[in-house]
Symmetry: D2
Subunit: 439 residues, 4 copies
Amino acid sequence: MYGDISTKAAHMLGQPEVLDFFAKLVQRVSPKSYQQALLEVQVSQKFLENFCGDQVRFLARSFAVPGNHVGQMSNGYRWPFGPVAIITPFNFPLEIPLLQLMGALYMGNKPVLKVDSKVSIVMEQMIRLLHECGLPAEDVDFINSDGITMNKLLLEANPKMTLFTGSSRVAEKLAADLQGRIKLEDAGFDWKILGPDVQEVDYISWVCDQDAYACSGQKCSAQSMLFMHKNWSSSGLLEKMKKLSERRKLEDLTIGPVLTVTTATMIEHMNNLLKIPGSKVLFGGEPLGNHSIPEIYGAIKPTAVFVPLVEILKSDNFELVTKEIFGPFQVVTEYSEDQLELVLEACERMNAHLTAAVVSNDKLFLQEVLGRSVNGTTYAGIRARTTGAPQNHWFGPAGDPRGAGIGTPEAIKLVWSCHREIIYDIGPLPKKWALPAAT
Amino acid sequence: MYGDISTKAAHMLGQPEVLDFFAKLVQRVSPKSYQQALLEVQVSQKFLENFCGDQVRFLARSFAVPGNHVGQMSNGYRWPFGPVAIITPFNFPLEIPLLQLMGALYMGNKPVLKVDSKVSIVMEQMIRLLHECGLPAEDVDFINSDGITMNKLLLEANPKMTLFTGSSRVAEKLAADLQGRIKLEDAGFDWKILGPDVQEVDYISWVCDQDAYACSGQKCSAQSMLFMHKNWSSSGLLEKMKKLSERRKLEDLTIGPVLTVTTATMIEHMNNLLKIPGSKVLFGGEPLGNHSIPEIYGAIKPTAVFVPLVEILKSDNFELVTKEIFGPFQVVTEYSEDQLELVLEACERMNAHLTAAVVSNDKLFLQEVLGRSVNGTTYAGIRARTTGAPQNHWFGPAGDPRGAGIGTPEAIKLVWSCHREIIYDIGPLPKKWALPAAT
Amino acid sequence: MYGDISTKAAHMLGQPEVLDFFAKLVQRVSPKSYQQALLEVQVSQKFLENFCGDQVRFLARSFAVPGNHVGQMSNGYRWPFGPVAIITPFNFPLEIPLLQLMGALYMGNKPVLKVDSKVSIVMEQMIRLLHECGLPAEDVDFINSDGITMNKLLLEANPKMTLFTGSSRVAEKLAADLQGRIKLEDAGFDWKILGPDVQEVDYISWVCDQDAYACSGQKCSAQSMLFMHKNWSSSGLLEKMKKLSERRKLEDLTIGPVLTVTTATMIEHMNNLLKIPGSKVLFGGEPLGNHSIPEIYGAIKPTAVFVPLVEILKSDNFELVTKEIFGPFQVVTEYSEDQLELVLEACERMNAHLTAAVVSNDKLFLQEVLGRSVNGTTYAGIRARTTGAPQNHWFGPAGDPRGAGIGTPEAIKLVWSCHREIIYDIGPLPKKWALPAAT
Amino acid sequence: MYGDISTKAAHMLGQPEVLDFFAKLVQRVSPKSYQQALLEVQVSQKFLENFCGDQVRFLARSFAVPGNHVGQMSNGYRWPFGPVAIITPFNFPLEIPLLQLMGALYMGNKPVLKVDSKVSIVMEQMIRLLHECGLPAEDVDFINSDGITMNKLLLEANPKMTLFTGSSRVAEKLAADLQGRIKLEDAGFDWKILGPDVQEVDYISWVCDQDAYACSGQKCSAQSMLFMHKNWSSSGLLEKMKKLSERRKLEDLTIGPVLTVTTATMIEHMNNLLKIPGSKVLFGGEPLGNHSIPEIYGAIKPTAVFVPLVEILKSDNFELVTKEIFGPFQVVTEYSEDQLELVLEACERMNAHLTAAVVSNDKLFLQEVLGRSVNGTTYAGIRARTTGAPQNHWFGPAGDPRGAGIGTPEAIKLVWSCHREIIYDIGPLPKKWALPAAT
């Protein structure tokens, strides 16, 4: 049945006027450019296409292994949890809740969904579309509330599984409250390393600009720190990044309001960084002008601050430098051939292992960096980025048994089902079976 | 390397005198018959055989899917967590810690192992054997402590993952303390349903006797409750079970001391059950005589108490009847054709979903019961049992995202590794790539 | 790209007027009822839905296993053959060629397609639809010729792989001509066994009628022989089958012309069977009346002939009884409890192992029969049939390395790709590598 | 059972004196150094280790997908063929027959085995060892005959599947005789390409020497042609290869008799090559001296002949240059940056696609070459070779539906089993099922 619903919903969402309607709806509640909003809708549409026809049933594929005697066979099934909960944030008001909701339904669960109330209108409209495509009204509960009410509801309803996407602070609280019956995708302080092989500078500076500043840096996969091999200093990369950042403007929301950090907080954070010896502003660092964004939100130009590598690693500075600012803000540093160990140490000391990028085509360099890092979704090669549409690959943190994934059959199976083993043992009994002694 | 260690250890452990040594060592600390102890060692040996040669590397099998353009490829890897902890109980002093320890090592983790201190001598000897087979001394930390010290150590060391096998009470506390960075295999109140098709009564009564009373009922998979279709009443099953239970004796430890529940507690529990209208003792129910078992342990004859199904379901009785007694104690009940709904309701209301058995070869009956239950390891067919050697199939609970598994490649991968996605995106760039507008 | 083409084609083919157009087009060239023709189009449409979005790329999923030293990794890929050929028969003018063609394209091959020239107009229209949906004109060669010309073309063009669906005689010739570079799905003499547990007689007689006589028996999966347990004699099954067969009429093509066997040949075959002692006509056995079907085709009422089991097994009779008549014709026989061995012997002696059905819910009976037969697509259970839409499961023969499959991801991968192993071994060299002696 | 046999046989074969016995036995019949013979035995031993314990049953792993209604489930099984044949050549008298024989047995077939009669004593001894380890005498038929007798036997016995490893000529004849019921691993004209990035010259020249001349070039994976990027001319590679080839001597069989090509034939082939303009002998090219090797065998120094790339591609020369000489003989050529197309064309025009090596760590170069070639087992990276022990990865040709593989679970499943689909459809019927109209 869900194959049919997905087929219909994919086709309906793929109509130009529907795509446009949802893109604009996303834009009304989440500060991003039309292109970024459209991309979010398109990825959601592609996801639905992926689970057309019989593909939902293929998710429930089980396996069997012959047993020890005639008539015995062990079967490994993917089994639903039953009643589950989904809690998703403001920055992707359609993609994250839709993909997780459908995943939960595909595997046979009964979900209650709560989207950040500032943006929940998008999913409210989407659920109406799903109902139109055949989703039975009783299959999904959609709740609109603040976080405290939801927390209370979770503790009372005691769902078998809760998927939470959002801030680390809330994630850890929920994990303890729910005694670990949870999968998490929390914030990330995501890094990019430029390797020794300098090439395609125009392309790479463009990718850096998009990774750090698209959606005003409010992606959990946004580039928060850039490690640049010394060979890049004379390549003009930083100048190009500066120039690209200056193209961004409020009118088309290529830069826009920051929902969870105020301008003052970001400026203060920058000033704290600038107290570190050798630090400097590379570009940005000033409030946006000529706007009517309320003060409870942030409004700042795309900003990059340089901090020397050896300073970053000092225990007094490390926590400060690697503090995530969920806005258009990144730290840049440089390393020489013999400082790669320090770079890897820095990456390892960071807490959140969500995405990462290793920009290099040097096979041995890649092997070294990839082998010693644990970020969940890691891009490698000269086209590597930290942000990417999670429609044709897994997206999620690694190194944590509570880590959730999104986007692929593997992610759906991991998050929304558990292993159940049924061993058939139907006989016949051996012909000369006789009662053995007790043991 | 771990393929070689497993090969050598499997061969060494397979030597008759080594098998015998370990079986007797198990018996000295854990009250079970020689046959049961030997079986535990044999299953452990078979497990090591399963990961000979290249099979360890096959566990690290990854997959790749082509991307959107030339040079892009998404790779899904199984990745280790890093520093991890393993905590295992008294009842299987070799099998549980060895299988989980090797699993953690196979996937590349750095484990610290704590076995219940009453029985830790068995793994202490096993680790010496592994060292002899090439296990580097620094790969495993083995700690001997009480639970409180271990709890403190976990909170300080903050392992990325902890595997806990043991009581539900401690499991839930640890889950909260470790904020969910845990996999659990806790106790189970395991049920068996006899279907409408009566057959092979001798065989099935023997399986019931073994499921309920082998190891004096101190298996997390022991049969705690038996639902019997009315058709079985005149089959002589209960009489046969009674007779079989009377074969058990202290001399050969086919019945023996109960380590975590005293005799008085068990007798009191029985008396509480007998207050329910219609209840009666089917057999057992008396303390063992002529022994020197200390009073802090339990010593009781294999016991079965009958409680009517409708009484079980009453909310005043349900918690009492389904309380797990980790000893040689089971509840028996009966149902008629039209009471199957009640049986399924009872199974669903129970908390711990570890093992279960559906003794029937009636395909439609099996379909109905299996489709509406969630126990992790479920046996089906006329040879179904609740206890089974987890060497060639998955063993673990279902319906809980924290649920651990043991015994198979799937279990090792689930418990001891996480998904990491590396997307290679190496170019070349499209020949006519030009700088796009910012988004 | 093929994901997008499939998405569009699935949607276009799913429009009621397009479904209807193709169903009627199928009917014009292939003698089947509107319902059967419509089903063929619907299955084709569902297949396209199954490979929407990213599902085509998931077909190319590869895997990797770590090697013996740092930098070594073995990768198993699914690789296309390159230039390939597809030859398909008259009875399913849309489903067989479309599914195989898309499979070949999905895996990256360059196919030339030949459909039986009597019915090739259906695929000709379908390819136009695919072009409309984005299929590049140069990706598929579509050829219209007789068999001799095609044979010559194959020998000259020497495709890396040829998929042939059609008669056994041509299949064997092609296999030798092409020195085995072929996958085959040839005709089947398909059997059904009714087990000892009599139930749902109305339903099962209806399935028998459909299996034997839908499309006038011109399916390679049509029921050619029915083994009936003695318990069924008094169930009225044969009477019901007779009555159902008499509902079929020429007007709506529920019975219709037979394209490859004349009426005379079928009557002669029946008369030969009737010479066997104990044989008799159960129903049918007469030419259709009141029609203008040309004499080169066949036209006969749905026919069933009873032959005693012991006679069937006699070496003089066996070949005659198991000769496939590609028309509305079946042989029925009966067996008692102790004759199951003879039934299994008969099934094993048959040559073509395509489909089979074991109508029983008796687990031990199923185990016995399934374990000792080799038919490729085998249905089991009281709802078992020999014909089935191959859209959500594999359809193909077993027991032959040349056997092709159709319908599922596994079938596509088997038929249209081969294994290629790439072992990356990128170093670095061990630090103290020194030149070894020659070996 | 076969898990136990493998465990025992792996352990027995792993005893130093047994390893030594078999290595020397291999040397007595097949001209290779002790190291090479020992390696063959060790790989065989490792293979047996890989299928210890439950790993054989894991080969028979099936999968299941839910069907369209309650009670329906499609199951994909790996099914044996039944009676099968194995025919293997002289050059690996233990490894090839043992791995294929065990693969056939693991999947449940009944094999007849024929090894080249010059070397069959090795497997004769091995089968005795297997009998000792529990192999039932009736499970394997071992036949000692010449090829003509075997051909006759195959045509009469008509095995369901035949695995043939040996020359292309016999392979094609058998494929036609057996009408394609065959899997082949025939000879290969294997190439190696050195990429533009020159590095590790000592290591790579050693690998070239081993790939071309170990076992006197009598491996189906031996390096027959070397494409060298111009950047390597001044690296000293050819001089180092010459020097290394001169270390080889008859005494320790690092160079030895060639069983299927005479000295005269090889010298004549060389002289034909030297008629091509620009050709020259790089080293070798002379008969071995001081030996008593009979004239029906070949005896020649390790030889390399240079032929210019443009000459190779001329249609008059191509067949000559790419003729496989199953001895210590290779062709070397050179290409410049803009001649890569010619190299790829040459590789594509060759017939036998067994192994290949691309020696480079340049990711874009690897992508280009790997994407446009089809060799089955392809090594890539600076440590790439053409010959490798097929114990932990697949070894076999690609691009041919008849291609066999050896060495991994995937290879065993592909060669020794077929897909069988069993669809359970057990009901219950929908409650309001009513007889539909005929279709």
